[in-house]
């Protein structure tokens, strides 16, 4: 791991990523899916550009942030269903 890696929490588990990593990527790296659909299907990012809303996650207490457009910061607390 490079010295400048960033540590954040995804659903309570610590994940280390390189700077410039999006929260959506960190969620997938941690092995979670980003959301659960209306009928209970696990979903993950589709468009990668902030349009599909599949990547919604709660970041530092703010719900439904499009995580593909948010960069990981040290100590971030990310939660998904």
């Amino acid at each position: 791991m490079p010295d400048s890696s960033i540590s954040l929490l995804v659903n309570g588990a610590s994940v280390s990523v390189s700077p410039g990593t999006t929260v959506a990527a960190a969620i997938l790296i941690s092995g979670s899916s980003t959301r659960v659909s209306v009928t209970g299907e696990p979903r993950a990012p589709l468009c990668g550009m902030g349009i599909c809303f599949e990547c919604r996650a709660t970041i530092n207490g703010f719900a439904r942030r499009r995580s593909c457009q948010v960069l990981c910061e040290p100590g971030m607390d990310v939660r998904t269903p």
Binding site: A25, V38, P42, R43, L46, G48, R65, C68, V70
Partner: protein, 440 residues
């Protein structure tokens, strides 16, 4: 946050960057707004070495006095000359009231997604979608990837993923080989593009390249495990970790439509100076026609100069643009969708991903609006950005009307939008706002 600009540019892809740089050169106070954390839009995303022209334009932008508003999305247009935006950054949910004399819309394009059984499985993404995720830190080394759909994006994505260590096992282009050959011949007039195509193909040379071929199912329990491909009467399964599937691009028209710009054949109508049907509103890049980076840079420069009252300096660019515009038609023709793609969804295939509306629920309706009111198709947070292009192709529906907020916004932002200071005099906003873009 309140800001006033002479010229406000929406979208920091190639067209927006070019418009902002040229507009600022004339001395105008220019703002550049984009929902992503860094400039470059979709095509100039970091995560791999940017091409020289990208580095050059971004350097020009960095050296200019353009006020940078990264991490904001526009949600409303409460009155003439004002846009409302909300921050996309995690740390705050601030609203911005942005006043402008001239507006340049460079909102770019998004991928067209066509539904097929299993397309909602995790690890099924767009072609640009997987590429963007990888540039955003998703590890792809050693992963098996199928790239599918249509358009020049497929080869570029396959090349980049291969460069990052992915095993690109197949590239499936729905266009038939004859049409691709005709397209390649037309490209001979633009040797730079031919070279680029050859370089991309070479980078992903281990991949099987199939034409007249498309995915009919994504299979797996929980995660993607394999893709079923069809070519003519043949069907076969390919084991893979990711499917990168997108059917070319459609323009992001929500903001032009909200502003009342005339749309013709699915694109914003502009005159030779990139001026739309709404005075003071210009449009550049993919929303005027899907034509790629070079055309976007030309249109952006023309729009920036015209907005700044320097159309005289854009005459040479206008000439260059007319030569590039034939590429728009060439792309449309080459990558036209095969009608057999309409037969891929099964009855239970989800069409509207936000509201889980299946294919069988939609056939009874004759319009997007009817379908939305009866089934909630298009009523979710993406506001039909994903399912709209699909239903247009599957059923021939046009889009429903666009109403604000054009992206989800918090109540506090909507409240701020309801009472903009329409009579805000420009001398109330001090030039201190010109500095310290980090605080935005």
């Amino acid at each position: 946050m309140k800001e006033r600009f002479d010229i406000l540019v929406i979208g920091a892809g190639p067209a927006g960057i070019a418009a902002a740089v040229r507009a600022a050169e004339s001395g105008a106070r220019v703002g550049l707004l984009d929902d992503n954390p860094a400039p470059g839009g979709q095509i100039w995303r970091k995560g791999a070495a940017l091409p020289a022209s990208a580095r050059s334009w971004i350097a020009k932008l960095d050296a200019s006095p353009v006020v940078r508003l990264h991490g904001w999305h526009v949600f409303g247009h409460p009155c003439s000359g004002v846009l409302m935006a909300e921050s996309t950054a995690a740390a705050e949910r601030e609203a911005a009231e942005l006043h402008y004399d001239k507006l340049v819309l460079a909102t770019g394009a998004r991928e067209r997604f066509l539904p097929f059984p299993g397309w909602t499985l995790p690890n099924v993404m767009g072609a640009g979608g997987l590429d963007a995720m990888v540039r955003g830190g998703l590890p792809i080394g050693g992963k098996r990837v199928v790239v599918a759909g249509t358009g020049p994006l497929l080869l570029a994505v396959a090349a980049h993923l291969a460069h990052r260590g992915a095993e690109v096992v197949a590239i499936c282009e729905q266009a038939p080989v004859g049409r691709l050959a005709a397209f390649s011949l037309r490209l001979l007039a633009q040797p730079g593009k031919v070279m680029q195509g050859i370089q991309y193909r070479w980078a992903a040379r281990a991949a099987h390249f199939h034409t007249g071929c498309w995915p009919v199912a994504a299979n797996g329990r929980g995660n993607l495990e394999s893709v079923t491909l069809q070519r003519g009467n043949e069907r076969w399964d390919v084991a893979c970790d990711y499917l990168a599937c997108g059917y070319h691009l459609v323009p992001n028209l929500e903001l032009p439509v909200l502003l009342g710009c005339r749309i013709q054949s699915g694109f914003v109508t502009v005159d030779k100076w990139q001026q739309t049907s709404i005075p003071g509103v210009l449009c550049a890049g993919e929303p005027t026609g899907i034509g790629g980076v070079e055309l976007a840079l030309l249109e952006g420069q023309i729009a920036g100069l015209a907005a700044a009252g320097r159309a005289d300096a854009a005459v040479g660019l206008v000439q260059k643009r007319s030569r590039s515009q034939s590429f728009v038609h060439a792309l449309e023709k080459a990558f036209e969708l095969d009608p057999r793609l309409r037969a891929i969804p099964s009855a239970n295939t989800v069409v509207c991903r936000c509201e889980d509306v299946p294919f069988h629920a939609l056939g009874a309706y004759g319009s997007s609006r009817d379908a939305k009111l009866h089934t909630r198709c298009g009523m979710g947070p993406c506001q039909g950005r994903i399912c709209g292009a699909a239903t247009a192709f599957l059923f021939g529906w046009g889009g429903d009307s666009v109403r604000p907020p054009i992206l989800t916004a918090s109540f506090s932002s909507l409240a701020a939008a309801s009472a903009p200071a329409a009579s805000l005099a420009s001398n109330n906003i001090s030039n201190q706002n010109r500095k310290d873009t980090d605080t935005l």
